[in-house]
Symmetry: C2
Subunit: 283 residues, 2 copies
Amino acid sequence: MTLIDGKSVANERLNNLSKTITSLKEQGKRAPGLAVVLVGEDPASQTYVASKIKQSKKVGIESKSIVLKEDTSEFELIEIIKSLNNDEAIDGILVQLPLPRHINSEKIIDSINPNKDVDGLHVHNVGRLVQNKEAFIPCTPLGIMSLLEAYEIDLEGKDVLVIGRSQLVGNPVTTLLKHKNATVTQAHSKTKNIEEKILNHEIIVVATGVKAMVKADMLRDYHIVIDVGIHRENGKLCGDVEKSAYEKVKMITPVPKGVGPMTIVSLLENTVKAYYLKGDNHG
Amino acid sequence: MTLIDGKSVANERLNNLSKTITSLKEQGKRAPGLAVVLVGEDPASQTYVASKIKQSKKVGIESKSIVLKEDTSEFELIEIIKSLNNDEAIDGILVQLPLPRHINSEKIIDSINPNKDVDGLHVHNVGRLVQNKEAFIPCTPLGIMSLLEAYEIDLEGKDVLVIGRSQLVGNPVTTLLKHKNATVTQAHSKTKNIEEKILNHEIIVVATGVKAMVKADMLRDYHIVIDVGIHRENGKLCGDVEKSAYEKVKMITPVPKGVGPMTIVSLLENTVKAYYLKGDNHG
């Protein structure tokens, strides 16, 4: 059994980002800039935003968080995004979700310049991903693909089961795997005979948001499992796959230190990609 | 065995469109308008455009074809589309594909107002379909869904195999079937063990563009088959499924008179949808 070490792959990629940005600065160019917008005081969101800012600063990205009051209006929020769209020092804009209920998230996300949409949720990027064109890809699916690549897991002609159909993970990862010539079956809460389907697939991506939804006895020694879930249990983190399954399978991303660390790396990589896309960074 | 009678479902829907438009006119409102743009003199394209115009006129849509010379520039074509975008009498705009090589099709399609994009190929509509939001859906996949509905074929929890991953059919039909709670496996040219996969699925959508790719001996009496192919053989039309398979399966869309007639109906339905979306049709 191999534990797929997301932490170590993430660290390697963070080092590469650091080097790239250091070299840009040495050439007298400006550093990439990331703006993270948070509306309200949800503690989980505050933690995520703080972590994104901290990690981005570590690699040399000029990041800032814009923290707005819970009762910020949709109009005010759009005005702020417009000013970030026009801000030459900002390459990436991320609006932390969920937004307060009185704000239409779709409208907000589609107000971001698609070329600064480092979360890959703008309709334009969603469409371009399906069309297999250059696009910003949501961070978790992008991180999963980087992990599969780092472990040289061949996807061509492979039967892959994706469990989950969220816009953040299930749908984009299905599309990405298909672009890599895998044959993908996308399962979800209405799927029948999920245990049989798991047995019939070699690679399983689990993104259900249901704690320990995939049990140890559903898995075999030929399975490569990507566990996207993240839950808290007795103060410890666990995923959508039972921990006792780890020793049964061929390879698995553990929780923590599997997919999790890759998500933030992808965000920073997307920010650097947006920087180069802008192409006005001449010192 | 049941032959799914696309011709008759299409006729019924054409009648409904006729009635809707007649009633609009009786109320003194303008009829929906469709513009079909053709660049060059490809004989197949000419036939398709002529047929779209003829059918749309039959139901009362004010349609016009705009035929441009082969050497029309990208700039000129975009100018024409812009004027159609601004034309109050035009609800739907369709650019017949393929375009001559010197024109970037993507750029042209994305220059259409997404609310007039009755072919459902604009990146905005592609993205919205994935997001399960109101969108214009490409005509053939939309026609397939209408056929499945007309024959009351239940999709919830069903295992469906889609063979093909084109932007026109394979990808959007996969997404539509998933939205209907089917568990969809999308196969393609790199898929392994396709015969086994066919046996393991009850509903098969074949959109490969390869004549008689699915053989009679791959199918069983429990199969419901949607054949999207259209090829010419000795002056007769045939599909992606061998004709000798028809008598073996539970249900199948024949070629001709299966999916084919539904495509044009969907185009006209999309045009009427665009008309109502515009909401400025007050006599």
